[in-house]
Each structure stands twice: as C-alpha cells, then as structure tokens.
C-alpha cells in the first residue's frame, strides 16, 4: 500500500504580484542606475541606503485609514507589539533620516536613493508589488535654485542614459500659482475653504480622465457617471469654475493667444508671425524642429505662459510669488544653457499638485511609440517631483524645505528599449566542450586562459555524453564560439573553433555573400586559441 502523502511538495512559484529578473534584465537596469548615480554624484548628491523595513509610526498615515495598518503596505507586528512595514517609497524613509540625523547631516543635504519599494496592491498585468525607485532630493534648501538644479540634473540624467535632446521635455508648474488662482476665485487658504479646496485639488488631478465637462460638473453641482452613480460637486459658481479651468487649460488659452497675435501681424511682419506659429508648434506633443529653433520658439512660449499666469492669479500674493518662482527657475536654467528646448513652463502638469507645496516638475518623453493595442502615442512621463516643505515637520515640528524627484525606473528602461538603446541580446560566454571526461583539466585550462585574457568563457559542466546537448547548451547561452578538442586534435596539439554567430547567420541566409568564404568551423594550433577566439569576437562587435 502506498504511504499517504503527508507533506505534499511545495509549489515552486513566486508570490502573486512578484517576479524574477534574469540576466540582462538585471544588468541593463544596473547599468542604467549606475549612469544615473554618476550624474547625481557629479551634482554633489550623496548615496543613502535605508533598510527595507520602517516602523509604521515613522511611515505615517499615508494610505487609507482602516482597521489594519497594513492596507496598501506590507506590514506585520513585532513581538514587542510595534508594527513595522516595508517602505512604499523613498521619500518617507528620507523624512525619517532627515529628522533622526538632523544634527549630523550637512545642511542642505543632497541625497540620492535607489532600490526596491513595495506596495500591497492588487497586482495586474505589468503591475508588480515590488519595483525600483530612483530618487534625488535636496533637504534644507529654501531657494528655487534647488528646484532649478533638480530640473537640470533630471535633464542631464535623461541624456546620460541615452535619451536624446529633443526626445524629452521637462515640464514645470507651481502649486502656488494654483493657490493664487483659487484665491482669485475667492477660495482663500483658510479653515472656511479647506474642504472645498481639497475637492478642487482632487478634481483637477482627474482632468486627464474626465475632461472639461466632467471637471465642470464635479466643481459645480455634481457628476453622474456612466453607471448612473452620482458624485456630489464642490458647489462652486460659474465664474469660480471658469477661473479654475482657465488654469488647467492655460495651454489652450496661450495657444489661442499666439494664434491671434500671429494672425494680426502675418502681413506686416511675417518673420515674427512665423516665430509665433513655431512657438505654438513647440508646445504641441509632436514638435520635431531643430534644437536652436526649439529653444527660441520655446522661450516665446514660456514668456507668454508666464504672462498669462500673472493675469489669472489676479491680486493674489501667493499666486504672484508662484509665477515669480517659475520665472526664476526659467531664468536660472536658461543661464546655465538649459533652454526652453528642454524645460517648459507648463500649467497642465497637475499630477501631485495636491501634495507638493511649490514647484512641480515632470519629465516627458516626446517620441512616439506603438502601444500593445497598435496605437501610436507619445511615450509619456518617466520622472516627476516637486517641492514639499512639510517633509520633516511631522517628526520635529519644524518645517524643513525640501525638493526632489523620482525616476520611474521600469518606465525609463522601457523607453530605452523602445528606442533600441538597450535590449539587444547579450553575448554569452565561449563554451569549451568536453569530448573526454577524463581530460577535464585540459578543458578547464582553456577557459582559464580565455578568462585571463578577459574573454567570458566556461567549460561545459553537464553530462558530456551527448555532444549535441553541449552545442544546444551553447546555443541557449547565446555563445559566440564553441571550442572542441577530441583525442585526435589533442594528439596534433590543435583545437577546433566553431563560430556560432556565423553558423546562425548562414542558417538564416545561406547565400549571404559576405560570409560565404568564411568557414564556420576550423582548426587552429592550441597555442593560438585565445588570439583566434578574440579575433572572431571582435569581428562581430
């Protein structure tokens, strides 16, 4: 009788929403992060690595408040009753560190952090519960020069990893401008309007999704969605709603103005009119003009946007301050050569406006890709950030100015793949096959020589009986070359070199002229092994 199976075999599977990364998936990401770290370092930023685990108390109430503190994060209770959790971003640990070590850290403190973060969310296609973040922040710098520096660094970073100038734009907005618009609409930053301002901020964030009509409804009487569900509105009046939409749609408003101006002077000053038309094009997603033109037209655009914002904030001092800050960032960056071809003042950046307290920025890749549904679209956002001056306050009671950004590591990697900058199959090692098990020392001597010459190499360590399996293995490893030495070759002190790349090329196109006289397997003296292998590898690189 068979024994009852008391402990069934465990399932060999990663937990739901977690995945494994193999070979080049790991090394390509690492190479990208290395390049980013070089730029950060050049800018004076220091590495910081906090542990994956933080107290729930230090992380704060960042996520929906429910019975258990681990909604949205992975949390568990320690034996001594403290709750701890895996970090869900790099900002919360920075806040804790900035407070914990405030006596010892230099001020301002520029730091960067790279590593995994965890979200206890429902996983979906391409949506994982562990992913990389790559942040840089400056804590303790009140001046917008710090914000400008982050924008310049973001620009340098994108170019360092391989995004060409002209293929990205860094869009800058300012929460204070929105505050000014709200003040101008009578919604002052007082307890009386706190609730309604909150609704407005959340609603603006959804402009991408609901459009003007949806936002108008939500700011006014309320909105009924497709399923018939009704969401209460903020109860604002028409003029208030118009003012807020005037901010969100600043892009369109400025565009119309430029069109009108251009039209008015087209006959009298066609050159100036052209520049205005180009400025309109500049701010459209698919502008493909040259850099110089981009910078000139962009400067016109930015200037017009700043003027427009100055108007819509009316008499609001916070609004005026916000526009001044945008202008300062624009000027500081321009002085360093980061012109409008790379940096755009852009009030349509609304993501995170509810969270940030000053300048907000977002890096967008402007080249087109074809998505999984075959639609051509702009690649879109790969990084973002802003100023959040309340970072350390919850720990110490003292406000500490801070500004910083986070790069979406997976998005940026996808962008580099989409542009062909990375993703070609990595070259495998040279494989030394085993013809005679008892001569393993000879084969290992060959790989040692190759490695000492800096050539990636390995001896076949599986069961050598079936030679076909050894070549299949070399194929699976994407090996450029296989080395063969049987008894006959050993006696004659030679080795067979099999050019596997050529083999593949010939298999793909047997008549390929350029390869036809080149043998894909040949014999060389044992002493020429390293030189010959190097020659083959270099011929393909």
């Amino acid at each position: 009788m068979a024994k009852p199976n008391k402990s069934p075999r465990p399932k060999a599977i990663a937990p739901k929403g977690f995945r494994d990364y193999f070979g080049t998936e790991v090394t390509e990401r690492k190479a990208m992060l290395d390049r980013i770290a070089e730029v950060y370092h050049l800018y004076g930023f220091e590495a910081l690595e906090t542990s994956a685990v933080e107290t729930v108390e230090a992380l704060g109430k960042f996520l929906p408040d429910v019975d258990r503190p681990n909604e949205g994060v992975f949390a568990w209770q320690e034996d001594d009753a403290d709750w701890v959790a895996l970090r869900y971003d790099m900002t919360a640990p920075l806040a804790r560190v900035a407070a914990q070590y405030r006596q010892d850290l230099p001020s301002p403190y520029r730091r960067f952090a790279m590593g995994p973060v965890w979200r206890n969310e429902k996983p979906g296609p391409g949506r994982f519960r562990q992913f990389y973040q790559c942040d840089a922040d400056t804590v303790g710098a009140p001046s917008v020069a710090a914000d400008a520096e982050i924008c310049a660094m973001l620009s340098d970073t994108l170019e360092a990893v391989g995004i060409a100038r002209g293929d990205y734009i860094i869009r800058v907005n300012n929460r204070k401008v929105l505050d000014g618009v709200l003040e101008a609409a009578g919604l002052h930053d007082t307890d009386e309007f706190a609730a309604v301002r909150g609704i407005v901020l959340r609603t603006i964030d959804k402009h991408d999704k609901f459009g003007d009509a949806g936002v108008t409804a939500l700011l006014g009487e309320g909105r009924k969605d497709d399923s018939g569900d009704f969401t209460d509105g903020a109860g604002l009046g028409d003029l208030q709603i118009k003012a807020i939409l005037g901010f969100v749609n600043a892009h369109n408003a400025v565009d119309s103005r430029l069109a009108q101006q251009a039209s008015a002077i087209r006959d009298t000053n066609p050159k100036a009119a052209d520049l205005l038309y180009t400025a309109r094009d500049y701010a459209s997603p698919v502008f493909s003009g040259q850099h110089a033109l981009r910078a000139t037209a962009g400067a016109v655009w930015n200037e017009n946007v700043l003027n427009y914002l100055n108007e819509i904030v009316g008499e609001s001092s916070i609004g005026f301050e916000g526009v001044q800050e945008l202008r300062a960032i624009h000027e500081l960056l321009k002085a360093q050569g980061y012109s409008a071809d790379r940096i755009r003042i852009d009030p349509s950046v609304v993501r995170g406006l509810g969270y940030y307290t000053g300048p907000v920025y977002e890096a967008e890749l402007t080249f087109e890709v074809t998505d999984e549904k075959g639609r051509v679209r702009e690649f879109g956002s790969v990084a973002g950030g802003g100023r959040y001056d309340d970072l350390v306050k919850r720990f110490t009671g003292q406000a500490v100015p801070a500004t910083g950004m986070s790069i979406g590591v997976d998005r940026l990697l996808a962008a580099l793949r989409a542009t062909g900058r990375i993703g070609s199959e990595a070259e495998g090692p040279v494989v030394v096959t085993v013809m005679d098990k008892s001569r393993m020392a000879d084969y290992m001597q060959m790989v040692t020589e190759l490695r000492q010459a800096g050539i990636r190499a390995e001896v076949y360590l599986g069961n050598p009986k079936n030679f076909g399996n050894q070549l299949k293995y070399a194929d699976k490893r994407n090996s450029p070359v296989a080395i063969i030495q049987g008894g006959d070759e050993q006696e004659r002190d030679v080795v067979q070199i099999k050019d596997l790349i050529l083999g593949t090329k010939l298999a793909q196109s047997a008549s390929l002229e350029e390869w036809k006289d080149r043998p894909n397997q040949f014999e060389v003296p044992r002493g020429d092994l390293v030189a010959k292998v190097r020659e083959i590898i270099e011929s393909y690189s």
Copy 2:
C-alpha cells in the same frame, strides 16, 4: 488652555536591528560588489534577481518549527490566507527558481545573486536584521569540476576586490570523507543510525567551541556544562569516538607525521626535511613564506592530508569517493595554476558539514588584525559554500546536483577596511559660495562649467547670509575647494579660490615646509576657474 496633544509626533528612528548606510558606506560596498560581479560574469555566471518576498511554503521549514511560521523570518499572512515572508538567504529563492523555470533555464545553470536578506533574530552589537549576501551557484553540474570552478572563482574574486595572494587561503573539505569515517566506525547511513549520525554531525560543528574534551563527552556518555546542566551523549564507544576525532583533528595528525618524517631524515637529507618542516609551517595560520615556497610546501601538505584521509576512511566506498573528489579538485585547480598557496585540503572545515552533501569550502583571510578587545587574531572566514544536491528535490522530487558559495559582504568589506584598501574619506564636491543672493544664476553657471568638465561641484543652497556657515558646510562636505565671488571680484571678472585641503594641512602643521610657499586662497581670472580648480584637485590625487 493648551489643546490636548491628540497625535504625538512619531519617533524618527529606524526599527530595532536595522540601520542606515550613508555615502561611502553605500558606494564602497557597491564598488566591491561591482568587481565581484565582473569576475562572476567572466566565469559565465548570469545575474538573477528574485523579489524580497517568497511564499513561506516555498521557503520551507528551514528554521525551528514553532507555532508561528515567522520565527526566524519576517512573515505575514496575505488576505487570501497564504503566508509570505522576506527571504532569509539567496539559496532558497534559487531552489524555487531552478524548479519553477526548469524547462527554460540552461542546464547547467550558473547564476549569481546579490542583495539584502532578512533575519528575524534578536539584534546585537554589529548584528543586524538586514544584511547583504552575494552568492554564486551552479545548478545541474554533477562533476567536481563545478566545485573546483567555484573555488577558482572565489580565489579570483578575493584578489579582484583587493585581497593579496598569500593573504587568503581557500580550505576544502568533503562531507563524503566524514561519511566514510562514520562508516568505518560502524555508523552506516541507514535508518538504524540516522539519529546518532545526526548527533555526531551537530557535535562536530561545535568542535571549535567545546574542544576535544567536550566533543568526546558529547559523543560518549554526555556532557555537564559549567552551569551544571547535563546534555545526553550519543553513547558511542571509545574507538568510534577516536575515529571521529581522528577526522576532526586530521590537521594535528598530519602535522605530527610530517614532524616525525622530517626528524627521521634530517641528517641524511636535510633539504627534504626542510621542505617537510615548511609544509608544517604552511598549514599554520601565520605562515608568511613566499608564494613559490607556499605552493611547493602546500603541495606536500595536501598530498599528506589526502593520504591520511584515505587511511581513516578504511574500506568505506563513500569515504574513498570523497577522498578521490578532493584529489580531483586539488589536481584540477593545480592544472589551472591555483596551487596549494591558494587552495588547501583541510578536514578541519566542519562548518556546514551537516548540510552539504559533497565538497565544502571556506575562504579564510590569514592576515592578522587587532580586534575590539585589543587581541591580535587572524581575520578569519569571509566566504563559504559547498555542494548540496537536494536543492530542487523538495519541489520536483528529482535530485538536482548543485554547488555554490556565499560571500559575507560585510565581513569582506571590514577586511578591505582593515587592510586600508578602502575607507579613506571620500572627496566632497567643490562648493561655490553665494555672496549675493540675486546673482544665483552666475554661481550656478560656475558649477555647471565645473560639472561639464567632470568635476563634482555644487552651489551653496542654504541661507547664504552667514558666510561662515557656508565654509563650515564646505568643511562638513569634505570639499577640496571653495569658490568665492563677491561684487568686487565680479567687477574685475575674477574669482577667489580657497584651497581647503591645504587649509587643513596648514592648520595641522603650520610649519610644513612643502606647503609654506603655497597660498591657500588666491584670485584667478573668471575664465581660468575650471582649469585652476582641476589643477588643485589633481595636485592632491
């Protein structure tokens, strides 16, 4: 009346047993891991990065079996009732991956993994609950050539990170030799002796701690410790105990034999006797002979050890196999130039013998350090590993041969610090000070020029009012140079360059001859800024 403090401020502190790593602590570790990864890659190993989280089911019963599955690991229950946990090493995830992707991975599969692991243990001084591991394993290679390869790679790795040849030794043992000794002592690998063999394995592991007397007691009648507590013994007879101690103390036995042999031939063949004496020295911890001598003497030592082991395993076929494997590893490595000066056959490697199923290896650093209590001692072990052929079996039912090693990242870093290879203070950025807040664009232009020339630089972004604070900041940042440009300098189109390294040197020793004619602050034309700063930095590097 003051409001009651409803939500007290959270404590800004990392959870117990977790720590933060700043600046060079991060970058030095990264640089070391990068060098290790280069060697692994050269050997044909592929990167693998699994997520931090595994199912408790996949991790297995690796730790004391108690009520909760999270004793020893950090574990929590998912909403759907599955328990998941943070990985506690890199081997358990490898086993899961090797089983999950067995159809797709090349076989043999050489992989390396680097990253943090977590242990839910009581933290202590220098003992943390998150730390780095750095592993390399070959799955699916039955031949000891795979073990030899790991040893060679470990040797190359140590030298690549900066441990000099002669400052380390890789000690190799084999579980099968111990199995042979047990068989020779009548303790066969059958159900009958399973329990007592288990006790023997656990007892041998404690030889370092309890010595011969303690091990003799534990293998025999039992042992009373200092507190009076009694531990039951394995109940072995004197001859059995003697045989087992003969294995554990093989080192001493071989040493005595060499002494006897040398003494016997001292007068007739003094040269050969000298070699035997040197062989004894070779295996002592503090041998400081030259490499060539080390290799020759080591070969004599290894040969004598192998002969001795052959004797003590008697008629046992598993024991004979074990010795043959050690000999094969020795020969394979020697043929590749990894002689006895780097690899030593050493039966006193007992750590992990209960876990591994074949060859076991351990890398020991042989130079001396002074510990925190002022005692001079050998640095000791920094890496270890071995063959464990049951890795994948619990998932698939099929035994898969596997061998690999793990480097103690923090230990190795400590060793590099102890030898002065790393740990010198990293150079900070050039600091451009701010004399006039309204001229921020000028100062930012200076740092941009410096950065574009590859010089790490930053503008002071704190409140610029107190100039002394700016210099204190530069000092805290370990800046080599500070740049100063007030209104007067601007008018004359010059900058002041303050050589902070020289300043420190002069402060330390005002009469230092070599510096006395060098000014530590001077003026240069604005156009010479980058060239002059580079000159200063290079003069110190």
